[in-house]
């Protein structure tokens, strides 16, 4: 058989499986990794996966994983072995942060070393990594690195590093032509009218757009925000959601 056969000795150390942009091998050698649930497709060795709430590394989790909304989606992998990760057939890349910060779409973050700490971004559905260490990210197609100033479709945004958080940009010409026709904005879903505007010095990571997963992350984020609403606003939200469900 002509295809390359791997074993624990020949698998790469923290790199893509040779010739395979879609699978990655993490070398677990004593130090633990945070890994997202479901990314694991195979492993060699003595490896334990522990939920964040039931690991013996309580102190590490408390200091490095500051994102209660996402805690259920992650485990700590520890032991000795080689882990193989995959994610929906997406391209997987590893990145090194050196005393840096990077914000990434939660559904595109697969694993990170505990030298990095994780926090929830202000932008719903995104997480921020701070510190020094390695992390793995997936993207639908090869990830593109772009420099601001630029505007990006929210669905195509993988993450950003160093530059300020984005602001919303609404395309004036688009809005004009649509407002005159549709007469309203709520529920419009064709993307081009709403973009994320990036300025300043830094790097923006972009992928081929994805159908945004109804992954519960954004829902939990929004739900947690509703505590700020008054009774009247909640009723209004209730009505508008009701109207959307009917259509």
């Amino acid at each position: 058989m002509s295809i390359q056969i791997h074993n624990p000795g020949t698998l790469p150390v923290n790199d893509n499986i040779p010739g395979n942009d879609y699978a990655f091998c993490v070398d677990l050698a004593g130090t633990p990794w945070f890994t997202s649930k479901g990314a694991m497709i195979a492993y060699y060795g003595n490896v334990a996966f522990e939920p964040l709430s039931r690991t013996n590394l309580t102190a590490m989790v408390a200091s490095q994983f500051s994102s209660p909304l996402y805690a259920d989606d992650w485990v700590v992998a520890q032991g000795q072995g080689k882990l193989i990760l995959g994610d929906r057939g997406y391209n997987i890349n590893s990145f090194d942060l050196d005393d840096g910060n990077l914000t990434i779409r939660a559904s595109n973050l697969l694993a990170f070393e505990p030298g990095l700490s994780l926090k929830q971004s202000i932008v719903p559905g995104f997480l921020t990594l701070l510190g020094t260490g390695k992390f793995l990210a997936s993207s639908n197609g090869p990830v593109m690195f772009a420099e601001p100033p630029l505007r990006v479709d929210p669905q195509a945004l993988v993450g950003w590093a160093d530059c300020p958080s984005p602001s919303h940009h609404f395309d004036a010409a688009w809005m004009h032509s649509f407002l005159s026709v549709v007469g309203g904005f709520f529920g419009m879903d064709s993307d081009e009218e709403r973009q994320f505007d990036f300025t300043g010095a830094g790097t923006v990571l972009v992928q081929s757009s994805e159908k945004v997963l109804d992954d519960g992350h954004v829902y939990r984020h929004i739900e947690s925000q509703t505590v700020q609403l008054s009774q009247a606003s909640l009723l209004q939200l209730h009505r508008s959601i009701g109207a959307r469900i009917q259509t």
């Binding site: 197609g141 100033p149 994805e210």
Partner: protein, 223 residues
């Protein structure tokens, strides 16, 4: 204007003042520079042969699934859609590219598109084909001189029709488009249901004959 692949899932277009790119709504990934996007109404964009068919087709083209937009200005725009593969096809002015509207990602503004009723192309059989491929009665013909970017699930292979291969048969679900002087015919073959048929009503095949190129994707999945 330059239109090229950034990677196999992303199209990169460089726009200069006075030029326009027509693209699928929702396909803009990101852009740099000063570019504006406006919804594009095909019926206002030079539909040949106005009338009942054009009206109906125009409505189809403006439907949610094949809404188009125009990008104008000065800058670089990247287009892609749901991780589908992008294929760039150059038109040299001689032949027409026939492609289903839902597969069009973007094309240069100086390329002409027209919606043709398949009944005028392949008679009753052609009309049936439109129904089978889930695209109603209409398909899009692209003519002129310029670049067209077409979407496929998993990439395409191009097959030459003509010469040693006078007839190529394609699963309607995997058919992407064709270029050149090709006659498309739809027929059912006894036993063909075993070949393509997972669902019902799929026991059909597209027969292409003439002279030209047909693109076939690596999947029977429509999008």
């Amino acid at each position: 204007m330059a239109m090229e692949l950034e990677n196999y899932k992303v199209l990169k277009t460089t726009i200069q003042p006075g030029q326009r790119v027509v693209a699928r709504q929702g396909s803009m990934l990101y852009y740099t520079g000063d570019v504006t996007f406006t919804p594009y109404s095909m019926s206002g964009g030079g539909m040949p042969g106005a009338g009942a068919i054009a009206g109906a087709a125009g409505r189809m083209m403006q439907g949610e699934h094949v809404g188009l937009m125009v990008a104008e200005g000065s800058g670089t725009v990247y287009f892609g859609r749901n991780g589908l593969y992008v294929q760039v096809i150059e038109l040299d002015g001689t032949g027409a590219l026939t492609v289903e509207a839902e597969r069009l990602l973007a094309y240069e503004g100086n390329v002409q598109t027209s919606i043709v009723s398949l009944s005028s192309q392949g008679g009753v059989r052609g009309a049936v084909r439109g129904a089978v491929t889930g695209q109603g009665m209409f398909t899009t013909q692209v003519t002129g001189y310029g670049t067209v970017a077409v979407l496929s699930h998993g990439g395409t292979v191009s097959m030459t029709v003509g010469g040693a291969k006078p007839q190529v048969v394609v699963d309607p679900q995997a058919y992407v488009g064709h270029l050149g002087n090709i006659t498309v015919d739809l027929s059912a073959q006894v036993g063909f249901r075993d070949v393509v048929g997972r669902g019902s009503g799929e026991a059909m095949q597209l027969k292409l004959s003439g002279q030209g190129t047909v693109w076939v994707q690596a999947s029977e999945k429509k999008f």
